[in-house]
């Protein structure tokens, strides 16, 4: 009853000073809205980075030869020939955290079709490659294990290659192309993936059985990489450890410092990128929080002025029976009403501006529920915190002095 009355009194005071209240609220509104929008942008960019990397295959694990000293000479990892098909088989057979694995041999060369030619990369892999990289086919089909075994001269090509060696728009499936003068039959076209996070064109690629690439193009018997996919993203770290142990056994290495290979998961990459964008988010939110703080100080300022201005009124209220606590509550409720209403409007504005940012600036955004809850709570607390001092001051007024105040 009493509290309800105090609410009425506070509400009345707010209504009587619409313009002033609105301007005070504006500080809170902008503060809350910017916190929400900034968090949404931060979350959004984090998510889009994650998605981007995931599109390259989020649980991919790569095993590469690493530089190691052999008879005193330290060679670069790229030139190492220490990774073999035996390693691949060991990993494939023994690892429990891996769902797919493929050897990978790469080469550069010229793709030629009649008078059209195009420099590209050739990846020698097994049929699991598509599943590891999470790539689908636009048309055609993947080569089979049997074709790998027989080192068939079949290939799949990416869209960039199609565009450049089949400029007339003719269907590449079944056509013959030459890669470094070795003829291949095109049996499939990969779906368009665009550029990856590093700006590399993922469609500029020719895929063929690794046996074919090893024997007919590169004439090598080692492999460049083993590419595998962990059972799940969460299992990636386990898979990395497991694979490392298998590899050490294979290469008879007892001291991990002497590893002549490196095992990497995408997870590491994701966390690196996420932490960057996380820092950015923290920065953005810090800036937004400052505006929320300034909004709070605005409330304090207005409440302070309001108490000064209404000293006589406070005296009167006390004379007709208001207790100190009543006056304290009246002003505190007033401050809270301003901040909470401002907070609610701020949430609304924050959400709207997020939609606008997404629509017109094309920035990825993602509104997190917690950002709404937190900013709203912060602003309610701001109201109490900054309303307290002026309200306290009002309630401590001596009624006689207050009544005589001019």
């Amino acid at each position: 009853m009493r509290i309800l009355n105090l609410f009425k009194i506070a509400f009345k005071a707010i209504v009587l000073n619409k313009m002033r209240t609105l301007l005070t609220m504006l500080g809170i509104i902008i503060g809350v809205a910017s916190v929400i929008a900034m968090l949404a942008i931060g979350e959004g960019s984090k998510e889009s980075i994650r998605e981007n990397i995931s599109s390259m295959g989020s649980n991919i694990i790569t095993i590469r030869p690493a530089s190691a000293s052999s008879s005193g000479v330290r060679a670069s990892g790229d030139e190492m020939q220490t990774l073999t098909l035996k390693d691949y088989e060991a990993v494939k057979d023994q690892a429990t955290f891996l769902s797919y694995a493929t050897p990978l041999v790469t080469g550069k060369g010229q793709v030629i079709n009649g008078s059209n030619n195009w420099p590209s990369n050739i990846y020698g892999v097994n049929p699991d490659y598509l599943k590891i990289k999470v790539v689908d086919l636009q048309s055609g089909s993947m080569f089979t294990d049997a074709e790998v075994k027989t080192a068939s001269k079949v290939a799949l090509i990416g869209q960039t290659v199609v565009d450049n060696v089949f400029p007339d728009g003719q269907d590449p499936i079944g056509q013959m192309i030459r890669f470094n003068n070795i003829p291949f039959t095109v049996i499939g076209v990969l779906e368009v993936k665009g550029e990856n996070t590093f700006g590399q064109d993922q469609d500029d690629v020719v895929i063929a059985p690794y046996t074919t690439v090893q024997k007919r193009i590169l004439a090598i018997d080692y492999i460049n990489q083993i590419m595998a996919s962990a059972v799940s993203e969460d299992d990636a770290p386990n898979a990395v450890t497991e694979v490392s142990e298998i590899m050490r056994l294979q290469h008879q290495i007892s001291n991990p410092n002497n590893d002549d290979f490196s095992v990497q998961s995408m997870e590491e990459l994701i966390s690196t990128f996420s932490s960057t964008s996380e820092m950015l988010t923290v920065l953005l939110v810090a800036v937004a929080s400052i505006s929320l703080l300034i909004g709070g100080i605005g409330i304090m300022n207005i409440m302070y002025v309001s108490v000064k201005e209404r000293t006589k009124e406070i005296g009167l209220r006390m004379a007709v029976g208001a207790k100190g606590a009543d006056i304290l509550m009246q002003f505190l409720i007033e401050a809270i009403l301003i901040s909470v209403t401002g907070g609610a409007l701020g949430v609304l504005l924050g959400l709207t501006s997020t939609v606008f940012i997404e629509k017109f600036l094309n920035w990825p955004t993602s509104v997190a529920m917690y950002s709404i809850v937190i900013s709203f709570a912060v602003c309610a607390i701001t109201g109490i915190f900054f309303g307290w001092y002026p309200a306290r001051k009002a309630s401590a007024l001596d009624p006689i002095t207050a009544l005589r105040y001019e």
Partner: protein, 247 residues
């Protein structure tokens, strides 16, 4: 013999201003009985404001006893004082002290807002009744700026009545009004007094005192005169005697 609403015994109030002690009231004793209309007079510095603050439970005496309606005021906490002000005293001020931009009825309701025993409906009902008593039944929704000085003071009187106080405490209530309006207000006070309401009226105007039944004169913190007024003037009659205004 009617009972005493106010009992004051050897009341002293001292203020300490730095090293100096100002003795505003130097041992005052008097009673106010139910139904009395007392004017408290005195020039400025006589201690009448201090007297009024203590009577109104806005201030506590340094020593001596003050009893209102059987309640000993000394040793009450701030909150208890507030409750006494809320339930037993009706204040009327020289400058009306109405809330600006707030309708007459809401102004009158104000004391009841701080009394949790009064429901919303009853609050409204009592506020309307009080305004009708002072002849403003038609102007419930007018704000102070839409009312004349006399009307504003009537709203203030209605506000002081709304909590059914045991005593009205008026502080120079006619000080801001012209003679005619002052007499109008005094006639309202007289009417209320006839209905049995006890009134303590602080003023420095001699003619106002002639409308009351008793006058207490203060000087330098002491009572120098306390007399019954045998010949109470009727404010209504005096009002009729005033020359008619041109407008």
């Amino acid at each position: 013999m009617s009972k005493a609403i106010i009992k004051i015994e050897d009341l002293k109030r001292e203020f300490t201003m730095g090293s100096e002690t100002v003795r505003a009231l130097k041992g005052i004793s008097f009673d106010i009985k139910e139904g009395e209309f007392v004017t408290i007079m005195g020039s400025s510095g006589s201690g009448k404001s201090t007297m009024l603050n203590i009577l109104g439970c806005l201030d506590q005496p340094t020593s001596g006893n003050y009893e209102i309606d059987g309640v000993k005021v000394k040793d009450l906490t701030k909150n208890q004082l507030a409750t006494i002000r809320n339930e037993k005293i009706g204040f009327i001020f020289q400058s009306y002290n109405l809330l600006a931009r707030t309708s007459a009825i809401e102004n009158v309701e104000l004391p009841l807002l701080y009394n949790s025993k009064v429901s919303t409906e009853e609050r409204r009902k009592r506020a309307i009744e009080a305004l009708q008593k002072v002849g403003l039944g038609e102007r419930l929704d007018h704000t102070p700026s839409q009312l004349s000085g006399g009307q504003q003071q009537r709203v203030a009187i209605a506000r002081s009545l709304v909590n059914n106080p045991v005593m009205l405490l008026a502080d120079e209530a006619t000080g801001n009004l012209d003679t005619r309006t002052a007499y109008e207000i005094m006639s309202i006070f007289q009417e209320l007094n006839e209905q049995g309401i006890t009134i303590a009226f602080v003023t420095h105007e001699e003619d106002i005192a002639t409308f009351s039944s008793r006058t207490i004169v203060l000087k330098d913190g002491n009572i120098i005169q306390d007399y019954k007024n045998e010949n109470v003037q009727s404010a209504k009659e005096e009002l009729a005697k005033l020359p008619k205004q041109d407008d």
